[in-house]
């Protein structure tokens, strides 16, 4: 069953189509990732799905409810973790959660119990009575995840949940997200521009300039590139290249003093190679293609090319639009 159904969803900021006829479905229980550079339309899509922004075209349902006509049903069915913190820093962790419980009408019998459980889940029980302004960035994010789950939503939206956090904290946040999957029949919709993180998703949709340009499991997206990348260096590269051609029927390329080639399954190929290769080897490596390679192949750009002038201008325009229309 699909928890999120999106058909040709569109939103413009001025003349720029920030989200341009985007369509996709997310089945229940999936971790669905929205991957793309800054300004690609990830947050705008999310803001429409969570009823904060009206779409200019298309339709979408979340939990079976229409995001325009049944806003309050949608709001009850979703938990949100926004990109920027949305906690009241002058209240304690507990007070923030309690406010949320009142706002979502969490029944009194379960309220305190769930607050305790969720604080345990995100390892903040010992900071229960501390003011949020004394929290680190990672702690705030964890508290927001706990808060987003307090009213037992069907979908948890995470907008760049690890942005601006150090690597250790990022991994910590991911541990929590993965733990959630085991405890709930929860669907997670997340946006990210970290390639390595999106590998944790069941499926990812790559979005660029307001359009979805690919949607599949991380594995299949990478398989579509034609297997693994093997890099080797021999004492005599020319002789080694000749041998690769003759013995294995490969078409190796010489690059920066290394020989590289693609094989469908690198892990199976390497033992065969090492077992009966005659030229003396200096080094040998195999790597899976990354989603960076996928994005590069689909768009001709690396995902982090954010300095590009045109894109910067687009983003400025978008920010202006969002300020004018946002809250």
């Amino acid at each position: 069953m699909n928890v999120i159904e999106v058909e040709e969803l569109t939103r413009n900021f001025g003349r720029l189509a920030a989200v341009d006829k985007v369509s996709f479905n997310v089945p229940e229980g999936e971790i669905f990732g929205f991957l793309g550079p800054n300004g690609a339309g990830k947050t705008t899509t999310m803001n429409m799905l969570c009823t904060l922004l009206r779409p200019h075209g298309g339709r979408a349902t979340v939990g079976g409810y229409d995001i325009v006509k049944q806003r309050s049903e949608v709001r009850c069915a979703i938990g949100m973790v926004f990109q920027d913190p949305t906690l009241d820093e002058y209240l304690t962790a507990e007070q923030n959660l309690r406010f949320h419980a009142y706002a979502y009408n969490v029944p009194r019998e379960v309220r305190e119990k769930r607050i305790g459980e969720l604080l345990d889940l995100v390892d903040l029980s010992d900071r229960r009575k501390s003011k949020v302004r004394t929290f680190s960035g990672g702690m705030k994010r964890r508290l927001e995840i706990a808060r987003g789950l307090l009213h037992s939503p069907r979908v948890l939206f995470l907008d760049e949940p690890t942005l601006g956090l150090d690597p250790q904290t990022r991994r910590h946040i991911w541990d929590h997200i993965m733990a959630l999957r085991e405890q709930h029949t929860l669907t997670i919709f997340m946006t990210t521009h970290y390639m390595d993180e999106s590998e944790n998703c069941d499926r990812i949709s790559i979005i660029d300039r307001g359009r979805i340009i690919a949607l599949d499991t991380p594995g299949k997206l990478k398989d579509a590139l034609g297997g693994d990348v093997v890099t080797l260096k021999a004492e005599d590269n020319d002789a080694a290249a000749r041998e690769l051609k003759e013995k294995f029927g490969l078409s190796p390329a010489l690059q920066n003093g290394n020989i590289t080639f693609s094989v469908p399954q690198g892990d199976k190929f390497l033992p065969k190679l090492v077992g009966n290769f005659d030229s003396p080897l200096v080094s040998l490596g195999v790597r899976r293609p990354t989603l960076d390679d996928v994005f590069l192949k689909l768009t001709g750009r690396a995902i982090r090319e954010e300095g590009e002038a045109g894109l910067k201008e687009q983003m400025k325009g978008m920010m202006r639009g969002m300020r004018g229309h946002g809250r």
């Binding site: 949100m80 009241d88 009142y102 300020r323």
Partner: protein, 268 residues
């Protein structure tokens, strides 16, 4: 409907927690009116003499200061909306299943609760100033301060709904709202001023709020025919009663709240 009520209640609840926890704000909200009362009172009391028989300047000023305290604190409650927008918490409120109008009402009721409590606390000064208090006066004062405060909070939230920064909000308040408060008769009787000031004052809805509260404390004294009563507000020869004053404030407040709800709903 249920969502509007829940919105009102949770927003009201948070306003109160925030107020109780910020002791500095509680203290500073009393500092200004006390300063006005003490400095202006000491400075002018002897020169000005009796405003009406039996009412000296400090006694005249006292109800005005109570009203002014309510007005400023209520308008400034809009600042918390801007604050919440700047620090993101507004998103948490807006994405929750709460009625938008409830959010505005919750802000207004929150500031009204605080204003009433502050007004009551300020009454402790009355005996020192020779202003007599009766239980009836206190009972009547509570709903009057509440209506005044809800109206002005509506205005505050309305301004806040167009504002993205706290500085912007404070500039608007200092440029428009404080002058309105100054000409509302807090410091002087509006019936005895040059015509231009009288016109501004009597077009200003806040004047009637100040007038009503002063009338509650000091009213009742009959004046000789032909002499403008410095206590009430006289419009076109008619001296407004407390009820008439409050009606004007209530109508003004209802309009402000309605427009604030509309403006709050519109931003999308």
């Amino acid at each position: 409907m249920e969502e509007v009520l829940r919105g009102t209640w949770v927003v009201w609840y948070r306003e109160l927690i925030r107020f109780v926890q910020e002791r500095s704000r509680m203290f500073s909200s009393f500092a200004m009116p006390l300063l006005f009362l003490v400095i202006f009172g000491a400075g002018f009391n002897r020169i000005i003499g009796a405003i009406t028989p039996g009412v000296n300047f400090v006694q005249f000023l006292f109800p005005g200061i109570i009203a002014m305290n309510t007005l400023t604190n209520s308008v400034m409650s809009g600042l918390s909306v801007v604050w919440d927008r700047e620090f993101g918490f507004l998103k948490e409120i807006l994405v929750a299943p709460l009625g938008r109008s409830g959010i505005v009402l919750g802000k207004a009721l929150g500031s009204a609760t605080i204003a009433v409590a502050q007004g009551i606390i300020m009454l402790a000064l009355a005996p020192m100033l020779g202003v007599s208090l009766t239980p009836m006066l206190v009972l009547k004062l509570i709903p009057m301060l509440a209506v005044l405060s809800i109206s002005l909070s509506g205005l505050g939230v309305l301004i806040a709904s167009r504002m993205r920064s706290q500085q912007g909000f404070q500039i608007i308040v200092q440029a428009i709202i404080f002058p309105l408060i100054f000409v509302s008769g807090v410091f002087f009787p509006v019936n005895n001023v040059p015509t231009w000031l009288a016109v501004i004052s009597k077009l200003n809805p806040l004047t009637y709020g100040v007038g009503a509260i002063r009338d509650l404390f000091l009213g009742g004294g009959a004046m000789p025919v032909g002499v403008a009563n410095p206590i009430g507000v006289t419009v076109l020869g008619h001296t407004m009663s407390i009820k008439e004053d409050m009606l004007i404030v209530a109508v003004f407040g209802a309009i402000m709240l309605a427009v604030a709800v509309w403006a709050f709903n519109k931003q999308d």
